[in-house]
Point group: C2
Chain length 339, copies 2
């Protein structure tokens, strides 16, 4: 049966025969998943750590296809990365689709194939799922929720409350790529060379540094919505310490810097999908940078600042001109539906 020229119908979410066929004829073959029960059972037999990580994210990015990625990749990698940020090895994901009536099945298949590729790259299995269909005009193509389970490494303690004075702050790559790539696609802008999203999984690169320096890595976070600025401000609040960063150390791709200048936005507030911020013991910061530079996703890693005692809960930006500016959270909305 060829569904490629068809569109999603309300009946595809009925729970009945048409939904059964969608799952068996489209979702299962495109993703390579076996058809699953409503609940998956997962054997943690070889797992001695007793602590699992659990996360959820819904993805509503618009447009769903953009340079460097699409909503399927984003949904897999975004959730994988949230698990990685608490020091967990991501294992299983769920996928929940909310599809608008009239959505082309050919686009759905592209998204499903992208989910398969992404889960293979990240080394996770999709084990359970759900499909709902809403009336035309009550959704926007497709929204995807992915939730995930990971196994937390033993002997590590990754949390903003674990940040210490004199910790060095590392960012694993250039900032602002994802937000600028989506915004460019949305507004028909083009750059040469093009700006592509950094949508990618961070569990592999993190494993390299956690395996070696697990106890020296105090906190991790991926600066997605709200950008690096908002993430750092949250971490200053949660640690009750002061974060000092150096403008000249911030890695920004020149096309992204140019686009931000034209558009009057600050790359510190633009969303990322494939970088992390790490707060690490100053003694090992340079060694960690060396490891990161040896991984394709860490070539632009930099030490961007350090942790001070006071002023508590503040983020200070030391500017290129020698001044200091307070960094606050993103105040309003800059780029809606960036992820």
């Amino acid at each position: 049966m060829n569904h490629k020229n068809e569109t999603i119908l309300l009946a595809h979410g009925s729970g009945g025969k048409v939904m059964y066929e969608l799952i068996h004829d489209i979702i299962a073959p495109a993703t390579g998943m076996k058809v699953f029960n409503d609940s998956a059972t997962i054997d943690l037999g070889a797992f001695e750590g007793h602590t699992i990580a659990f996360t959820t994210d819904s993805y509503v990015v618009s447009p769903i296809f953009f340079p460097g990625g699409d909503i399927g990749k984003l949904a897999v990698f975004g959730t994988v990365n949230d698990l990685a940020m608490v020091g967990a090895e991501p294992r299983c994901l769920s996928t929940g689709f909310i599809i608008e009536e009239g959505f082309p099945i050919s686009d759905f298949i592209k998204v499903l194939e992208s989910i398969r590729e992404a889960s293979e790259e990240a080394g996770v299995r999709i084990v359970t799922g759900d499909t709902k269909v809403v009336n035309k005009g009550k959704g926007d193509g497709i929204f995807i929720n992915t939730s995930g389970i990971g196994l937390v490494r033993e002997g590590i303690n990754i949390s903003p409350s674990n940040i210490k004075i004199d910790d060095r702050i590392i960012v694993s790559g250039t900032i602002g790529n994802h937000g600028v790539a989506v915004m460019a696609e949305r507004n028909g802008l083009s750059f040469s060379p093009p700006v592509v999203s950094d949508t990618r999984p961070l569990n592999g690169i993190l494993a390299k540094i956690l395996d070696r320096y697990g106890t020296e890595i105090h906190a991790l976070r991926d600066p997605t919505r709200g950008g690096l600025a908002t993430t750092l401000k949250e971490m200053a609040i949660e640690s009750s310490l002061c974060i000092e960063i150096y403008e000249e150390a911030l890695p920004v791709n020149p096309q992204v810097a140019g686009a931000c200048e034209i558009l009057g936005i600050d790359p510190l507030y633009v969303a990322n999908e494939g970088i992390f911020v790490a707060f690490v013991n100053g003694n090992v910061a340079e060694s960690i940078i060396d490891i990161l530079h040896g991984h394709p996703y860490g070539r632009d890693a930099r030490i961007i600042g350090k942790v001070l005692d006071t002023p508590s809960e503040k983020v200070l930006l030391r500017t290129r001109l020698g001044g200091t500016r307070l960094v606050e959270m993103l105040p309003g909305e800059q780029l809606p539906r960036i992820c």
Copy 2:
């Protein structure tokens, strides 16, 4: 700060300051949840079984408030029930909100309070969450994804492939209540006494029979979208056996039967949210019924049929008049967005 007369803005999904305030000022107080990290870490220390259950569902019910429940209760109990159907004790849930710009914050608070009450009733903790906002006209008020983790009891094997010839089929309550209640609300119909949704958690009542007869209970499922008919047909296919049910044994509330007659729909195809179907060893079927009758959610439990060898993958309905009719899955769509 009083947000009660306000509506959701795109900035509430920005990842920045306005979202931070929504989480701290609205979501945390209304739900009693602590404000969480992107990923929760869950200690399974006391858990010796090694097998967890994992499930996901998105809820897009329209309208979001209906007799007997609302989208918040549905989101908690629906996911709790999916975990219970594989013999797991539900433990943790995630909540992912996709909110349409302009949605009243007062309604959001009602839904959050409902989530809190429901999770207390079901004995689960909400441990992680996510909030996205989509532009006005690109959603429909609020959609909620809940994913859940449970711990599978040791020594049981609940699966359609475990269904055996001569198993008795038990349904735990009257069928069709949820679908008719939502449809009535949607269409401004009223019944006296009113038909209310059966939205409720099934883990407590199931624990009663699993604790006593765990190994005699071969398969479980909650007949939601597609109704009891679709669920039985799926189980006939998955077990490669034949399911025989008796029309006169099917428990249907008289108001629901009347509504279905007027509307020309068959209660066998109407969605339920608070009943389960169990395939059990014939020797203990009556004892299980006795236990169910002692629980408030099982007063209308009945043996509705049994399992035969052939014709394989078929569901046979023995009618009141002595005839036999083949029961198929719900063919098209009957009541869109029922859950």
